[in-house]
């Protein structure tokens, strides 16, 4: 019994949307960061599904690239977050208000 | 002629002069002034010799110099002069040295001289360019020095005035740039090579009637702001009032002419049909400008602002003459551009000289200057009468030609425009009366009259004002062939015919009438011959009938 491919794609789309909306709505930088991960993983799911449907190895290979890049982003992102919130209690984006016009 | 020519040299000399000035240390003001003046005088001499070398029998562009420049866009460095631009070039060449000598910037002579020379290059480049792209470059380039001159050496509200001047003109040019590119691409029709050569573009005339009208409007937008036509004129009084004297002289004398020149050179020759169709709109704006400028001038309390508004009115006359689309009107318009440059330039110089002494431009503050400054009063009178258009002075010739040229085709506009002449007499004489008549008191009584240097500066202007008023023929001889060619071009491409009276005056009408009489006579004769033939035929038939009946 196999599940129709579009189910996976719809799930991925839903996860991606959750991530995107979360990033735009939530104020905690760490949560925002997690939302980015959510989006990237939704993309990975999409890629794997398409690779399976197309019977093409390319999509799956791309997933590895995404994983590596996501890891690199995590390293840099966490570094920046630590640097900025080292002397603060919570990591809230609303505290970032020095730069405005 | 190819490569380097006198015209290229005329554009480059001020640029080189500006560069040299920029390299001289700030403290050597005398050297800077000498270099600046030398460059300006050199160009002036070149422009005058150009007028003498100009072939008055030819309507073509002369002294053409051409060099390829940006081949990718079809742009070439193309300069030339014809009867329409010749005297504007001469005017530029004469006014700049006068403005440099006749005024004192009071601070930062170096920057001032450099900007003035750059401005001269921009003006000359605009008048000489036969390539639309090159024209546009110079047309926009003139903004920059003028912006810095007003903003750096002007009076109390100079920043506001200079920004307004810059942005208004840039706004107009935005339309022109799009229109220009559209014209070039649509003329090429995707097959012919792109060209910005206005001679070629005028010949191609490939735009659909509707499109041409839009592109014409885009061009007109830029020129209408520059002229300035009513309702785009609001930058002008501010810019004139706040500019230093030399700035006002050049602005009124030369820069405004870029607008009217653009209308003649590009509006008429590139879009003849659209110009014919839309002429009523422009004429109306011109006439509104004449009356509005005159009325505003009457109400001004500031002497410089008064002269500025009088410019709006005078420029309205030039546009009226241009869009009358008759040879006389157009010749008058071209001549009046020069006249206005001379008389308004001189007026601004005189007002500047008064300001140098009294540090005010308020008419109410000035009184009875005739007593303390008799020479100034005389010169002011002459210049003022030239501006009013008194017969015997230059203003009369131009205005008269414009009015008779436009009366033929655009009677009512001309009639309303004539009222502007009367109003001009009103506001200028009234201002003169308030400023110069009466017994001076206080500071007004102790003013020193014009210095020798100031008299020397005014002398060439006064000479030209009188000369052009008494004997304009050599100038008109050079203007007319080109104007005639332009009107013929408009007639051919615009599906329009100017009345004969506008070409040669009464003689033309007489010829026309004679021709008509001959034609009518011939027609009558033919008619009677025809009747005779009919009668004979009928007779023959009757005779035949009678014969057959008899058989």
């Amino acid at each position: 019994m196999s599940l129709d491919g579009s189910w996976y794609l719809c799930l991925a789309a839903a996860v991606f949307t959750i991530g995107a909306v979360g990033l735009l709505v939530r104020r905690n930088v760490l949560v925002m960061f997690m939302c980015v991960e959510l989006m990237l993983n939704a993309v990975n799911l999409t890629l794997v599904t398409f690779a399976r449907m197309l019977d093409d190895i390319g999509g799956q290979a791309l997933v590895f690239f995404v994983l590596v890049v996501a890891a690199a982003e995590v390293v840099v992102g966490l570094g920046i977050i630590v640097a900025i919130f080292r002397r603060r209690v919570g990591a809230t984006a609303d505290d970032l208000h020095l730069l405005r016009g | 002629m190819e490569g380097f020519s006198i015209l290229t040299a005329m554009v480059l000399v001020p640029v080189i002069g500006a560069a040299v000035v920029a390299l001289i240390p700030r403290s050597r003001e005398d050297v800077i002034k000498a270099v600046g003046l030398a460059a300006a005088v050199l160009v002036g001499v070149a422009s005058i010799s150009l007028a003498f070398a100009f072939d008055a029998n030819s309507a073509e562009y002369q002294f053409v110099s051409e060099a390829s420049w940006i081949e990718e866009f079809g742009v070439s460095w193309l300069l030339g002069v014809d009867g329409i631009s010749l005297f504007l070039v001469v005017l530029t060449g004469i006014l700049f040295p006068i403005a440099l000598v006749g005024t004192d910037p009071h601070r930062d002579v170096k920057g001032y001289t450099a900007w003035m020379l750059l401005l001269e290059a921009g003006c000359l480049g605009s008048f000489l360019a036969l390539d639309l792209f090159v024209f546009f470059l110079f047309f926009e380039l003139t903004l920059l020095p003028m912006y810095f001159i007003i903003g750096g050496w002007g009076y109390e509200k100079r920043v506001y005035a200079s920004l307004k001047f810059f942005l208004f003109t840039l706004f107009g040019s935005a339309f022109m740039l799009v229109g220009m590119v559209a014209l070039v691409f649509l003329s090429a029709k995707g097959t012919a090579p792109l060209t910005f050569d206005i001679r070629e573009l005028a010949e191609r005339g490939a735009l659909a009637e509707d499109t041409a009208r839009w592109v014409f409007l885009a061009f007109t937008m830029a020129f209408a702001v520059k002229v300035p036509l009513f309702p785009f004129h609001t930058w002008l009084p501010d810019a004139h009032t706040q500019a230093p004297t030399a700035g006002s002289v050049i602005l009124a004398g030369v820069l405004l002419k870029l607008g009217t020149y653009g209308l003649v050179r590009f509006g008429l020759s590139l879009f003849p049909k659209a110009a014919v169709d839309l002429a009523p709109v422009l004429l109306t704006l011109a006439v509104v400008g004449i009356i509005y400028g005159a009325v505003c001038a009457t109400m001004q309390k500031d002497l410089k602002r008064l002269v500025a508004y009088s410019s709006v009115a005078h420029l309205g006359f030039i546009v009226l003459g241009t869009f009358a689309l008759t040879t006389q009107g157009l010749s008058g318009g071209v001549l009046q551009m020069v006249n206005h440059g001379l008389s308004t330039g001189a007026l601004f110089l005189l007002v500047g000289m008064i300001y140098e002494r009294r540090h005010t431009r308020e008419i109410a503050e000035l009184h009875g200057l005739q007593r303390s400054m008799p020479v100034m009063a005389v010169m002011f009178t002459v210049v003022m009468f030239s501006s009013i258009g008194l017969p015997g002075l230059n203003g009369f010739v131009g205005e008269f030609l414009i009015l008779i040229g436009s009366f033929v085709t655009r009677r009512w506009w001309a009639v309303v425009g004539t009222a502007g002449v009367i109003l001009a007499a009103l506001y200028l004489l009234w201002a003169y009366q308030r400023v110069f008549h009466g017994t001076p008191e206080g500071e007004n009584a102790t003013l020193t009259d014009m210095t020798l240097r100031e008299r020397a500066v005014m002398a060439p202007l006064l000479f030209l004002i009188v000369f052009l008023g008494v004997y304009p023929q050599p100038v008109l001889d050079r203007i007319n062939p080109s104007v005639e060619r332009l009107v013929r071009h408009v007639e051919e491409k615009g599906g329009y015919e100017q009345p004969a009276v506008a070409v040669n005056g009464a003689e033309g009408v007489r010829e026309e009438r004679q021709k008509k009489e001959v034609e009518e006579g011939q027609a009558k004769q033919q008619e009677s011959e025809r009747k005779l033939a009919e009668f004979k035929e009928a007779e023959d038939k009757a005779r035949e009938k009678a014969r057959s009946g008899g058989q």
Binding site: M53, V69, I84, L99 | L137, A174
Partner: protein, 518 residues
Amino acid sequence: MNGLPMNGLPMNGLLVAQAGQPEGLAPLELPNVEYSAMAPHLILIGGALVLLVWVAMVRRRPPWAWAAFTVAVGLASLGASWLMWLDVGRNGPRTAVADAVVVDGYSIFFMVLVSVIVVLGALMGESFLKREDIRGPEFYVLMLLSSSGAMFMASANDLVITFLGLEILSIALYVLAGLDNRRMESREAAIKYFVLGAFSSAVFLYGVALVYGATGSTNLGEIVGYLQSSVAPANGVLLAGVALLLVGFGFKVAAVPFHTWTPDVYQGAPSPVTGFMAAGAKAAGFAGLLRVFFATFDTLKLDWQPIVWVLAVATLLVGSVLAIVQEDIKRVLAYSSISHAGFVLIGLQAANEKGLAGSLYYLLTYAFMVLGSFTVVTLVGRKGDARHDLDAYRGLSARRPALALAFTVLLLAQAGIPFTTGFLAKFYVISAAVEGRSYSLALIGMLSSVVAAFFYLRITVLMYMSTDEEEAEEARTEPLAIPRSMAVVLAVSVAFTVAFGLLPAPVIDFARDATLLI
């Protein structure tokens, strides 16, 4: 592969087909890697690595040596790019590394541009780092890496490579934005840039995934093949993918409505980094955008042209109007860079060869103008990189006439004054729009440049028309030093802007020849 499961078709057929294939894997085939096709990229990356090792091995080294090394690396990559340009001119464009990388006029154009930015950026950074007492070679290393990412975006022939280039570019830039980590603003800029950058990468990647699903490949050449062979190529998945790609690129090039990060990040990042961002990152974003849309999705242009039209208009208007109300020079330049992005989008919207050439010309000339401008901003910012309010420019002409003149030239060039490259750049894209019959867009572009002229002039007003004694006194007490490396950057950018404004043929021909896409 016709009809997607997304459209409701079951995928059983596919699974059956898969089951029918023989068992076992084919031997793994490694692509032939032609390193010469990526020589400039590799020179930059190699330079970055050497610099890292060098710093680790030799403790005490004058920082100017790092800058000199970076300049040398930039020049080497410039030389390599030039050799490749000659080679492509002789042998024609080609693809390399299993069709993933392309060597054509377009990619080399950006290699040249990025190399120049590296050289100028290193010179700008040197005296800044010294003044701010920021030790370590991070600036140079990250700039070199980031630049190699920019080059990869330009030479990518596969969306995967585009994505990798984008990430190499961006991740290094996140750190660069927060380089001056003693300043709170700099750190804040880093985090803002990072969050929105990561978001845009994810969006971009989802676009890649959808395009892959719809066309069966991420290779640009194969996508073109698919689009040309299929009868009705435009379906929902493909169009959604293309739209998401546009959004992803839109973030990078700061097109409205994806521009919100720009003013904050430009303001907060160290001034030389902002200059690098405005010149390099924008060029890289457009390098990817233009290739993907011009070359690959050309057949879909009736679908994306209207969207780009809207983006361009919004970008032009928002950029130039909001710049007027800013009080901080870096924010002014940020909004101005947004409006310049609008002009490049005009070239994209035209979707003709002139539009592409115009966009390239615009990016090249803008890079010089903006690098020069940010050099001035860095200088006037003084120690602490904090004096960026517009009042800091009051009376600059009296204090430093040459600096004021240079800044005026650069600003007026951005406003599009004749006889500068800035005017020709605007003219180029406007003529492309007119050729493509987008008259209204051309007019909106020109009118927005009139609005933009206002705030450029406003700065010149401050510099030239508001001097009084008090400020002259302040000028004497607080001298404004111009280090030699900064002077070089300024001289180069001003000379380029004016010289090629007067004799434009070489650069225009360069941009035109760069439209040689594979």
